[in-house]
């Protein structure tokens, strides 16, 4: 039988990535592509006794407590989508920001920053924005590609604005204060959001057809305006509930998503839109959406277990050995490795592979590991968007309106990936953007 070990870990890594890419474009469901590659390497590298890694990791993956918040976010989104709340919210936003070209896209970014403060699991956030903001922006005549980019990059901000599971995992693996990481990532997170907003505003100024100005707002009577503005009240109350429960110490971050669902259900009751049928349909959509996004994660998790066993950690270590004596070159090389891995692997896997090696080196070179944590988190922002394995694109695809293919999504993300790399370069060049608060 073919022994894949003969490839060596370097050849094995290349073969693995090529296989992933090749199988991905055949039309085989994504979740099974990653599992298939994991199985091929488990069998070909070690033999049949190692296959249980795959199923053991599936079991561990689906039983993680933090994932309880994923269906809750999706449920929240489905209910908002089925009720008139989402539509009213965006109509009201149109009145406030309507006079600025691109205003609703910028408001969507503001909404994503607020969502980011509620959770750190981007699957739930992108699904929520994809169900609510994307159809509404398209309805208002926004350019499709720009709207897609805003939703994916905005939704990914969940890991830059605290609470953030990426920063927590980094803190635990690199032995760095989680509180310091939260403080340090806040400004870079806002920097990213501002770059996205500036990009949108500049593009629509150069090409007004990308975002039409609503005309109905101008001649609208004050009473109509007020009735539209009421659309903001319920969603705002839900936000106050959720953020209040997190920052008031009432609920843990995961539990707060349940408060969000309860708040949204209560809103539909108050608006007279509630029905059991609607709730049931929303739950069914939640099952379908979670089935899609969780099984993609399952495959990614299985793959990383096998890759680590193959010696992935030692391989990454070897890449850094004797490359250069210049500290900044080593840091740049680390960023490059993270970027390349980000094209093919899930962030948890990248964290497992790289942080144990990178963090001690960064400290030895005299850099602040908190700063490096922010850089890591920003690099993972890119990984959510970058093809071929771009989770943000997959999450959006799971709820996108008909006609929006993965190809369209990835093409729309290119300029936003550029902005993420720009922001990363800024924090790399000017560490005080992250560390300004340190004495």
């Amino acid at each position: 039988m073919l022994n894949l070990q003969d490839l060596g870990i370097g050849g094995g890594s290349l073969t693995m990535f090529a296989l992933l890419l090749g199988l991905l474009v055949t039309g085989m469901p994504l979740a099974f592509v990653t599992i298939l590659v994991a199985l091929i390497f488990a069998l070909g590298w070690f033999g049949p006794m190692v296959i249980p890694i795959v199923t053991t990791r599936i079991y561990s993956f689906i039983t993680q407590y933090v994932f309880v918040s994923v269906p809750m976010f999706v449920l929240m989104a489905s209910i908002l989508d089925r009720s008139g709340i989402a539509r009213d919210l965006f109509d009201a936003m149109k009145i406030i920001g309507g006079r600025v070209r691109g205003g609703v896209a910028v408001q969507t970014l503001v909404v994503s920053v607020i969502l980011a403060a509620m959770s750190g699991i981007i699957g739930g956030e992108i699904v929520l924005l994809g169900l609510l903001a994307l159809p509404q922006m398209l309805r208002l005549g926004y350019d499709r590609n720009m709207a897609i980019g805003v939703v994916c990059s905005g939704g990914a901000l969940g890991t830059m604005i605290p609470p953030s599971i990426v920063l927590i995992i980094y803190g635990l693996s690199a032995n760095v204060s989680i509180g310091d990481l939260f403080t340090a990532s806040f400004v870079p997170g806002l920097l990213l959001a501002s770059l996205y907003a500036a990009y949108v505003l500049i593009r629509v100024r150069l090409n007004p057809s990308l975002a039409p100005l609503p005309d109905e707002g101008d001649g609208m009577a004050a009473a109509d305006r007020w009735s539209l503005m009421k659309g903001l009240i319920m969603p705002l109350l839900v936000v106050v509930f959720v953020l209040g429960s997190i920052y008031g110490g009432i609920a843990s971050v995961t539990e707060a998503s349940a408060i969000g669902v309860a708040g949204v259900i209560l809103s539909t009751v108050l608006r007279g839109e509630f029905s059991w049928r609607m709730l049931w349909d929303s739950a069914l959509q939640t099952l379908s959406t979670c089935g899609m996004i969780v099984w993609i994660g399952i495959g990614a998790s299985a793959l990383i277990g096998v890759y680590n066993l193959m010696g992935g950690i030692r391989f990454i270590e070897g890449l850094l050995l004797n490359v250069s004596d210049t500290p900044i070159v080593i840091v740049l090389l680390m960023m490059l490795i993270l970027g390349v891995l980000g094209m093919f692997l899930d962030w948890v896997g990248i964290a497992l592979l790289c942080i144990p090696i990178f963090a001690p080196i960064v400290v030895k070179l005299g850099y602040d590991p908190v700063w490096f944590g922010v850089l890591f988190s920003m690099n993972m922002q890119v990984s959510f968007l970058s093809p071929p394995f771009g989770p943000a694109a997959f999450y959006l695809k799971s709820v996108a309106p008909p006609g929006i293919t993965l190809g369209i999504i990835f093409r729309s993300l290119v300029p936003f990936i550029g902005l993420q790399i720009l922001a990363l370069a800024l924090v790399l060049a000017f560490p005080w953007i992250a560390l300004w608060w340190k004495p």
Partner: protein, 195 residues
Amino acid sequence: METQHDGGAAPPGQPTDRLSAVIAWIGRYLCILFIVSTAVSVYEIVMRYLFNSPTVWVHETTTTLTAICFAFGGAYCLATDKHIRVVLIYDHVGPRVRRWMDIVISLVGAGVCGLMAYASWGMAWKSLFTPSGAFRIETSGSAWNPPSPALLKPFLFLILVVMTLQFLLQMWRHIRRPPGDVHHGQPGAGVYEDA
């Protein structure tokens, strides 16, 4: 349903075999667990914050309920053709090539799920029997100590067996499908992804 015949294209999102129809039917009821887990989470928050008496059971209950739904979601999306695919090649070839691609993809899918079912058999067994072969139910080990591993591990095995069968039934359907049948829309139309 005008083109509905044996082995023909079903409308997107509809189960194409009886097993998948059963899975889709179960899904309609199983999804209610999401609402239940939301409700008990809110109950926990109220008990802890207002009455200062946190429950011992809510965290593990919600985790178990969502895990059941996540695992089942794999079979459900297979039944309703909702798993995400990249159709770069698929979308640009004619019906005959597509038929062959569908056959191979379902065969490989069945192989993947079959291998996983085989691997999870051991895991399921160990959750119900000690290494010496005596029956015992694996529990979570917490103060409440529910038998969640003994519930979820065999359930995962069951789902993987079902998914293997689903892929095999799909393969059988593609084999019997007329080679000229336009499956998932015309080439280049991007219809597959919209399903």
